[in-house]
């Protein structure tokens, strides 16, 4: 059994589950036929947590482990219907030739083919490895930054079945939080477009880090223009990026309205001592 087999161009990360599966299969073979010789060629055995017991168990049952290095990967050569495996053992520093009836390869687990297109469709972020990326590694592993979309299992990264199940339960719990309510209360800090001012320039659509604004035909823009931007309040994360970027100044962020942030000091106000706290913060002095 050869671990960490990586054809050129294949993903270069540890798939977490293969070592344990290899050991499980090795133990099963030894249980069925103790005479069967099982050799595992590996770079590093990753049997984390209590799975380490499988490693101990496999060794106890006589599975042989040989460590190879990246520089000298094993070579498999066909020979009259059988296979010869050439490998250099790292500890003995000696080449071996093994004759095998079966060669079992552990290859990395790649994200599902449609992941990228689905991510584009739903505007979801992907990790550098091409799996879906959660909102927060520790705090929100089943959420996306986008509201109302959840993830679980191998879409996230290679997982064991019990990990997938816990993840799925967590995701279902989060989804229920939404589904179990008659009405949803969203945070008050959301961006609102004034269609009367929107020129439909798409700036907000492009700059929103979450891809929330859309241009809607049914909302005429400035001067009865074809369409204007719409920001779904239950999806908006309230970062305000679009409000600061909109060239027409058509978007306001509730709770952080322009008038709340900058209160122009004008006329007599500038001479009086009636400055508001915010005007004071922005540098105005009586």
């Amino acid at each position: 059994m050869i671990q960490c087999v990586r054809p050129p161009g294949a993903p270069d990360y540890c798939s977490r589950t293969c070592c344990t599966n290899t050991l499980k299969n090795a133990i099963r073979l030894k249980m069925l036929n103790p005479q069967c010789q099982v050799i595992v060629l590996y770079k590093n055995i990753v049997t984390y947590g209590f799975r380490e017991q499988f490693y101990t168990e496999a060794r106890r049952r006589g599975v042989i482990f040989m460590r190879y290095t990246e520089e000298q990967p094993p070579r498999v050569v066909p020979d009259n219907g059988r296979l010869r495996v050439h490998v250099t053992d790292l500890s003995l520093k000696r080449p071996f030739e093994l004759v095998a009836d079966r060669v079992v390869l552990s290859m990395s687990i790649a994200p599902a083919e449609e992941t990228a297109s689905l991510a584009r469709l739903l505007q979801l972020p992907l990790s550098p490895e091409g799996f879906f990326m959660e909102a927060h590694l520790k705090m929100r592993p089943m959420d996306f930054m986008q509201e109302g979309v959840f993830l679980c299992g191998m879409a996230h990264y290679p997982k064991f079945i019990e990990e997938s199940i816990s993840h799925a339960l967590a995701a279902a719990g989060r989804a229920l939080q939404v589904l179990s309510r008659e009405t949803l209360h969203v945070g008050g800090v959301v961006a609102v477009v004034d269609p009367e001012q929107c020129v439909g320039c798409l700036t907000c659509v492009r700059t929103c880090p979450f891809g929330i604004p859309t241009i809607r035909n049914d909302r005429p823009g400035v001067g009865g223009l074809g369409g204007s931007a719409y920001i779904e309040p239950s999806l908006c994360q309230g970062c305000g990026t679009c409000t600061a970027e909109c060239p027409a100044n058509a978007i306001q962020l509730l709770n952080y309205l322009d008038v709340q942030i900058v209160q122009p000091v004008q006329g007599d106000w500038a001479h009086g001592s009636h400055l508001t706290r915010r005007q004071w913060s922005l540098g105005a002095r009586p």
């Binding site: 972020p125 880090p209 970062c239 305000g240 990026t241 122009p264 006329g267 913060s281 922005l282």
Partner: protein, 158 residues
């Protein structure tokens, strides 16, 4: 304090700069909080304006602060790549850069505007940023906008 002769806009020894700082409610606010918890001292010249994310720093806000009498303005954001709104701080940074060019164009030193990135735990960095800005503005002197208008017959407000 070493006194830099140039540019010299009178009485910079007694000059107390007015500085406006915009910070985001995540790392910026947390850093301020940490600074407070650690009982760190930083100059009282800085007044703060809270934003949900520095992605909200509108160029207008920055310019308005200068217009209303701030001698310096700075923005405190989450570390790059750690913005709680993904890229808000990067967009904010781009805007700070643009605002700098605008300031330069009208004869206000670009140094008067700056942006700092820090995580919520970096209270000392927060205090240091405030101190740095105050020192820098003290060296630069009062905002050129506060100088009596040379040619204009009457002063305008707002």
């Amino acid at each position: 304090m070493s006194v830099t002769p140039e540019p010299d806009r009178d009485n910079h020894n007694t000059f107390e700069p007015q500085i406006t700082a915009f910070y985001c409610i995540y790392c910026g606010y947390m850093a301020a909080d940490t600074a407070g918890v650690l009982r760190l001292q930083y100059p009282a010249n800085v007044t703060f304006v809270r934003l949900p994310c520095t992605g909200k720093t509108d160029i207008r806000y920055i310019l308005q602060a200068f217009e209303q009498g701030a001698d310096g303005v700075y923005v405190v954001a989450c570390p790059v790549g750690n913005c709680h709104h993904v890229r808000g701080n990067e967009r904010g940074y781009a805007r700070v850069q643009r605002a700098r060019q605008m300031l330069e164009a009208v004869g206000i030193e670009g140094e008067r505007l700056d942006m700092f990135f820090m995580s919520g735990g970096q209270g000392a960095t927060f205090a240091l940023a405030a101190q740095q800005m105050v020192d820098r503005i003290r060296r630069l002197g009062p905002s050129p906008l506060k100088q009596p208008a040379r040619a204009a017959p009457e002063q305008h407000h707002g």
